[in-house]
């Protein structure tokens, strides 16, 4: 069947409404080919869905469907396929790639550079007369439009810098490129011997490659940029007084409405519980995975996840007024201080550009005084500009940073962009969150109690625990399974929310649940028949290698303190275990201010945290790191995310960042050293296009080779 015929058949199948709507859904859990297949098949099986296409890079899926299919239908279909999905806030808000606008100029520069170089080789090997003129004209024909097109990113950036009375790396590049092109064209028209199209295009090619590498790093980080908007539920099922229900988008909710929040849904607005009782996962707001109970009359916040039973919630605040939006605003304000950071390449070019321009001007003046005539003085001055054009400088920073980021990625440390490595290399003070950062963020049963359990008790405990999704049960089941315990055979298992699990084991009633008497800390009571109740204590354990990592950081000259939103008692325990000073009961504002105080005292602060409550602090700190288990907001705000459980990632990232900066400085030295050699030649009027081309590519290769040393991570020194 031809494509047209198949399309006809589709149209016939739905004759009344063939109008297709496009919806984009975020599917954060999709990470492999199998997932993509399941997502696409799960959606395509839905009647009314024309096609579904998953995008693994953006962790999203685009669906074309008729308007008979609603967004909740699609989310439900994905849930059946085993994936949690949230509608993306808006298709327009989809992050724009930073690499893609550079790909076309890069391709044009590469094409033109290769062809012009081909022609230049024949000129250098002795073509003259009409042949040389023909080759120069061909070069001009290819080169001038290609330079105009491929140079646009530089011209635009230089122009906007100049308009604001500033200068950046792109200003000397643009001036050099424009003058060199003009001179070459003039030479071509005048049947001259030397045209510089090849060198100019090669310069653009190398610089665009550096730019593209830099953008590629930033793109990797973009995937989580709209995480905050995505996490707020974009709508809710609203109940009218007569019991009728209708789906409202989050923006259409008004205070006073009653929304019914099913288990597994996120709240779209702040409110107060009218009916029902459940547990809410507030990990988005606090980073804590333990769900908190919510009953009638309790305040609940937008962005929290309802985990157990449906709730009816009266809306109190929506959209911009919610607690979630408050934190988002605080983060946005905090992030502005960081955007004022000036990257090392721009700092270098502030010194470099005036030096280059005065050298060229001096050369021109010198040759004029020597009586060489305007034309010759101008040609030599332009040769100086071309030879000093920061070709290797343009590669010096991005190549080193991309290689370092690649090496770190192999160790499970993801760096979001190049400036993150620059800032990380400068930190001299660390603030670290407790729950979920210093600790695992999930309850681990007390090892001594587990060891004291009889084999049959352990088997029953594992069997009971494996039936529940409660965090304590999950922790217990994992710890017992790790001890090699096999689950006992149970019958008649049922779970009462808020109470625990009960079942029959060989006609003996057994239960695992909340202890009768409230004791300090977290605990679960295991009862088997009439035997004495066993109490299993839980604690939030420190991450492995915590002490080693903190000691290593201290050796690197980075003292740490704890900054936690948790209560004094819990923080004191961890502070005692780690030997760090601590501040407890810190609100997001407090954390933000603590960073501000230290920065004002001249410290460069590294913030390590995971929750939304750490978001403003992560954004305000000089550099920030989040564990992979962090909330999306934490991961979005942080510069670096480490995926493993070990805190050793912290000293490792800092060491690598410092090494990278050493290599960057070496690269600068190499690139400038080459200029020191070549500039006297150029000023003496001895540089030909051939020498320029060779020198340019050699210095670029040297810089790239030096940067590649960073990929050998095993020789790592602090």
């Amino acid at each position: 069947m031809t494509r047209a015929a198949r399309r006809d058949a589709d149209t016939l199948a739905q004759p009344e409404d063939a109008r297709l709507v496009h919806t984009a859904l975020a599917v954060p859990a999709m990470h492999c080919a199998g997932c993509m297949g399941k997502v696409e098949r799960g959606l395509a099986a839905l009647p009314g869905v024309a096609q579904a296409r998953a995008n693994l890079t953006a962790r999203s899926v685009g669906v074309d469907h008729t308007d008979a299919v609603t967004v909740p239908d699609l989310v439900a279909a994905l849930a059946r396929a085993g994936f949690a999905a949230q509608p993306r806030a808006s298709v327009l808000a989809e992050p724009v790639s930073a690499v893609r606008p550079l790909l076309a100029p890069l391709a044009v520069a590469a094409f033109a550079c290769m062809n012009v170089m081909l022609l230049s080789v024949s000129v250098w090997s002795g073509a003259d007369g009409a042949t040389r003129d023909l080759f120069h004209w061909l070069s001009a024909l290819i080169g001038v439009p290609a330079i105009a097109y491929a140079g646009r990113p530089f011209f635009a950036s230089a122009w906007s810098a100049l308009r604001h009375g500033r200068t950046n790396m792109d200003v000397p590049i643009s001036i050099g490129v424009t003058l060199a092109t003009g001179l070459s064209f003039y030479e071509t028209v005048m049947h001259g011997a030397e045209a510089w199209f090849d060198g100019t295009l090669m310069l653009l090619l190398f610089l665009l490659a550096g730019r593209a590498l830099d953008a590629m790093m930033r793109d990797r980080a973009r995937a989580g940029v709209d995480a905050l908007l995505r996490q707020a539920a974009p709508g809710a099922m609203v109940m009218a007084d007569d019991g009728a229900t209708a789906w409202y988008a989050a923006t259409d909710l008004v205070p006073g409405m009653v929304m019914r929040v099913a288990a597994g849904e996120r709240l779209a607005a702040d409110g107060v519980v009218l009916r029902g009782s459940s547990r809410l996962d507030r990990s988005l707001l606090t980073g804590e995975s333990a769900a908190v109970p919510a009953g009638e009359g309790d305040r609940v916040l937008a962005g929290t996840l309802n985990t157990e039973a449906p709730l009816d919630v009266r809306v109190l605040a929506t959209g911009e007024d919610t607690a979630l939006a408050d934190i988002a605003r605080l983060m946005e304000a905090a992030g502005q201080s960081r955007s004022r950071y000036v990257r090392i390449a721009d700092r270098a070019s502030r010194l470099y550009a005036p030096a280059v321009h005065s050298l060229a001007a001096l050369t021109f003046a010198g040759w004029m005084l020597a009586g060489a005539g305007i034309y010759k003085a101008l040609v030599i001055a332009i040769a100086v500009l071309i030879i000093t054009c920061p070709c290797a400088l343009g590669l010096a920073v991005p190549v080193a940073q991309v290689v370092a980021a690649g090496a770190l990625m192999k160790r499970g440390i993801l760096v979001k962009d190049g400036s993150a490595l620059e800032r990380l290399a400068e930190v001299d003070r660390m603030l670290i969150d407790k729950t979920g950062t210093l600790t695992e963020g999930r309850p681990v049963p007390d090892a001594a109690t587990l060891a004291a359990l009889r084999a049959d008790e352990a088997a029953v405990a594992l069997a009971l625990a494996s039936h529940s999704r409660h965090p304590l049960s999950l922790g217990l089941a994992e710890a017992l399974a790790a001890r090699g315990v096999r689950a006992a055979e149970l019958s008649d298992v049922h779970e009462t929310p808020g109470r625990g699990l009960s079942a029959q084991w060989h006609d003996v009633p057994v239960s695992l649940g909340r202890p009768a008497a409230a004791s300090g800390g977290m605990a679960a009571a295991l009862a088997i028949g009439t035997a004495p109740v066993r109490l299993i204590g839980f604690a939030d354990a420190l991450r492995p290698d915590c002490a080693d990592a903190l000691a290593e950081l201290a050796r690197q000259g980075i003292p740490a303190s704890i900054l936690s939103g948790d209560g004094v008692a819990a923080v004191a325990t961890v502070a005692h275990q780690t030997g760090l000073t601590a501040q407890a009961n810190a609100s997001p504002q407090d954390k933000h201010e603590a960073i501000g105080r230290l920065s004002a005292a001249g410290h460069r602060v590294l913030m390590v945290g995971d929750g939304l409550n750490d978001g403003p602090a992560l954004a305000a700190a000089h550099a920030s790191i989040a564990p992979g288990s962090a909330s999306d907001v934490g991961r979005q705000a942080a510069d670096v995310v480490f995926t493993g459980a070990s805190l050793r990632a912290l000293p490792r990232s800092v060491a690598m960042a410092r090494r990278t900066m050493r290599v960057v400085r070496q690269n600068f030295t190499l690139a400038i050293g080459y200029n020191l050699l070549a500039v006297p030649l150029a000023m003496a009027g001895l540089v030909t296009p051939l020498i320029a081309a060779v020198a340019m590519s050699t210095s670029s290769l040297v810089v790239v080779a030096n940067s590649l040393r960073l990929s050998f991570i095993d020789g790592e020194r602090a």
Binding site: R6, G34, R41, A44, A107, F111, N115
Partner: protein, 51 residues
């Protein structure tokens, strides 16, 4: 000289074809989901491959 007149247009033409092919691919969205494209070859397409 005549061989150059033939060879240069051929060389340029081939380069231009490559450039045009790249631009076509860029416009077709071939570079939108690089990770996905790498993973997609592993998907077992069953009878519902007609999506």
């Amino acid at each position: 000289m005549t061989s150059i007149a033939v060879l240069i247009p051929i060389a340029l033409g081939m380069g231009l074809i490559g450039l045009a092919a790249f631009f076509w691919a860029l416009r077709q969205g071939q570079f939108v989901d690089l990770d996905g494209a790498a993973a997609r070859i592993l998907i077992d397409e069953g009878e519902d491959a007609a999506s």
